[in-house]
Amino acid sequence: MDITSNPSSESQIFDSLRLELRRGCLIVAVLAQLRVEHYGYTLRKALADQGLAIEESTLYPLLRRLETQGLLTSQWREEDKRNKRFYKLSSEGELILAQLLAEWNSINDSVNNILQNSVLQTPSQR
């Protein structure tokens, strides 16, 4: 199929691939951000302020899933006269985050190398 002639199909493919690419990165970002305690809304704001906007309906369930996996701890606490659920990275979460960051850096380095090499190659060398 020739996607170049169909902008909507091209956009759909990009959206789908972007979603896949972001999925794993979001988890790393959430874990990293939760080295400091946050409740759902402030966590979302903190991530958005640093250029990583996440939908509420994605972030809040993700927090619960990560807590179920033991990577986060949570507690209900009153703040500004309202009860809020605060999340923080657990000790197990710290270990997993370190491993994920190492993996992420390794992938990043590899992709950069591939990109640099492909730019350096002349068409006759390909």
Binding site: Y39, G40, R44, E55, T58, Y60, R82, K84, R85
Partner: protein
Amino acid sequence: MNPTNPTIDLLERYLQAIGQSLPAATREDVLNELRANLTAQIDDRAEELGRPLTEPELAAILKAHGRPEIVATRYLPQRSLIGPTIFPFYLLTMRRVLPFVVAIYFIANFVKIAATQHGLSSVAGGLVDSAFGIIPVLFVWLGVMTILFAILERTYDKFGKEWCLDEWNPAKLPPVKPQGDKKQRSLANRIADLAFHCLWMAYIIEVPRHPYLLFGPGASFIARLQIGWAPVWHTFYVALWFLLLIQLGIKIANLFPAIGRFSTPLDLVSKWFGIVVAGWLASVGTYIVATGPGADLHKLAVVNHWMGISFKLVVAFMILDLGMEAWKYVRPRLPTARLAF
């Protein structure tokens, strides 16, 4: 909660809608957390505007948060009836077993109709019933298979490692198909071919008893001419039945990919047998005989002569067709050097 405040009322209605799709065990906890997050967001927005939010502004926030049913689904564990690990095996099993189900169904129904139904209308009715009857059979089979694989999916986490799904031997892969075999007919096409062949056989059963199936309204006119079939047709009828049974076997075999590889040679054999039968028929010379004193013997001789010529032409076309089919089959298998002329 103050139900008289329209904005709070809208928020509570939204949370209630989410809660309806959440399990009771976690419902309150999830809703309290959502309420806290949404309230903080609403407060932030109100602070930005310097006034309380209007109902449409709150509705916009809730709309951006997501449809209640979808939001609730994200809090549920990710579930699939048959997951990505089991699904390829499910699909493979369905494709492998489907031809058996269809073949067993049609053979069983054909035998049942042949044994119990008499007369054209009852045979035709039985065949039509069986053609439609396969639909619920396929649905039940599909349901049973899906339930079995859904059970496998549920037990995979516990026992999956013992099933060794990842273990395979490259040496056991089937040989590469010859170029000529690549365009294999679809399964639906092969099933339809089998069904039509069964109908054709039913038609052949009924023709001797009901000549109008062959001649249409002209059957009564032929009856008045005091002519009838020569004895040669009895022998031909037996040979035709033998040929149809061979073809039935080939069409059933075609449903199975393993045997389907031999479908072309088997087709060639059946065509060759058809040529033998037609050739014998062409050589006989007498096809219609007088059955009463009123028959015009001269015209009868002319009709027999032209029928003989027609059969000879049919045999010539059949031989040509067999030759072309045989060449198509043999050509890709010949050594390339021999074709370089």
